[in-house]
Symmetry: C2
Subunit: 254 residues, 2 copies
């Protein structure tokens, strides 16, 4: 007798502008709640949806991944169609697939890719306002690139992590595999790929890099900020609307 219940994996895109983030917060609508409600309606059974990680209010996703468990096999294309019909147009399920029994959207993830978009045009493009951040000062791209190099590799990122209730088994040590500065038509994109990101870590790193650009921090301060292991040592978080969760990577077997 097989007691294992099928696991389903969803690929999700959302415009985070209108929401209080992935996870439910008091007095805000969460993306997770809307997806769970739609799925529970369709499956006629209260169903929990677990994502690769939370995204904050105003943060967007082009490649969020979540899983849920159901007791029977599903007609995937029908469920996918129904989900998108019930969900608001700023949340889209891009794909729905059967996953391995061992698959867990959070614990099976081996790395993630985030993009942070900086708008650097003097006249803010009205169509970019919800999807980029335009700093109120000039941004020296070579300084940004030099600063970015300090964050690549394995570090204790305590100074760049806001505290949240849940703690991780690895403490605050994470590895950033790459942090590329890619020039765009009217700005730059900072691409962060790493094995895990602490709460607000990407936005705190971007905030500190911008502090370097406006002369509030110097490059030589960055190693000392790491050593301090104190959130107060680093700059304030860059605003949420420039941040996109682009991809979550899993091993082949999941």
């Amino acid at each position: 007798m097989n007691l294992k219940r099928p696991v389903y994996k969803m690929l999700i895109a959302y415009d985070g502008t209108q929401y209080g983030g992935w996870q439910s917060q008091i007095n805000t609508v969460s993306i997770q709640a809307l997806i769970q409600d739609a799925l529970s309606t369709i499956l006629r059974k209260k169903t929990a949806v677990t994502a690769s990680g939370r995204t904050d209010a105003g943060v967007h996703a082009l490649g969020q991944v979540a899983h849920f468990i159901h007791h029977e096999e599903l007609n995937l294309s029908k469920i996918l169609f129904s989900l998108n019909a019930l969900l608001p147009p700023d949340i889209r399920i891009l794909a729905l697939d059967r996953a391995a029994f061992s698959f867990h959207a959070r614990f099976s993830a081996v790395s993630k890719l985030y993009h942070y978009y900086l708008h650097l045009d003097p006249a803010l493009d009205p169509f970019q306002r919800l999807y980029t951040y335009r700093p109120p000062h000039s941004v020296d791209l070579s300084l940004l690139s030099e600063g970015a190099r300090y964050f690549i590799g394995t570090h204790d990122f305590t100074s760049f992590a806001n505290t949240r209730c849940s703690s991780s088994k690895n403490g605050n040590i994470r590895t950033i595999h790459r942090l590329d500065i890619m020039e765009q038509e009217k700005g730059v994109c900072l691409a962060f790929e790493g094995n895990g990101f602490l709460y607000k870590m990407v936005r705190n790193i971007v905030g500190s890099l911008l502090d370097v650009c406006r002369g509030k921090l110097f490059l030589k301060d960055i190693p000392r900020i790491f050593e301090a292991k104190d959130r107060r040592a680093a700059g304030i978080a860059a605003p949420p609307q420039g941040l996109f969760l682009m991809q979550v990577h899993y091993t082949e077997t999941t």
Copy 2:
């Protein structure tokens, strides 16, 4: 004694999503009113702003042009900065310049360029929902191109114009210089360039072309629709959010 007062020309971009259109409507916020209020505050004088034409609720602009008259010379870069500081981020003044005394944003315009974006991906991109229209049926691009050819040139567009109080000296005869179908990453853009556009004309033409794609109209019906000179003969207007006023062209001397 020179009685002529300086004329100023503004280049404006806006995300029309939140507004009741360019011109004031009852119970809606208009883009014109916000710009007039900001300008009047800065100039300490009630100042009227006249655009090249109205755009409807939900229609966007990347290159709207408007003019205003002021009794004295202005510090243009200072006024431009102040305008953008007072205006909401979804309305941006891209440029402010002195124009010829004879310049009139509406009457001096010789042609306009509109884009209408169709999203043709099965999964609606959540970031495109406010800036494209995704028809609920398939769109045959060759049929779209064939249909578009019927609209190029000089025609009486009465059947494709919604009625509005103001009537024009040329009746409803307009010339469309080009109507190009340009393929995009996840859809197509219909580029309309013409010497003038009647009320809802672009959206009505797009609506009729989409009716051809879904088999509700045939290509051979189009000449008869033109001949009918009756708005009821053509298809319903395509929704506003796919429409962008891209450029307004003026003669060299203005």
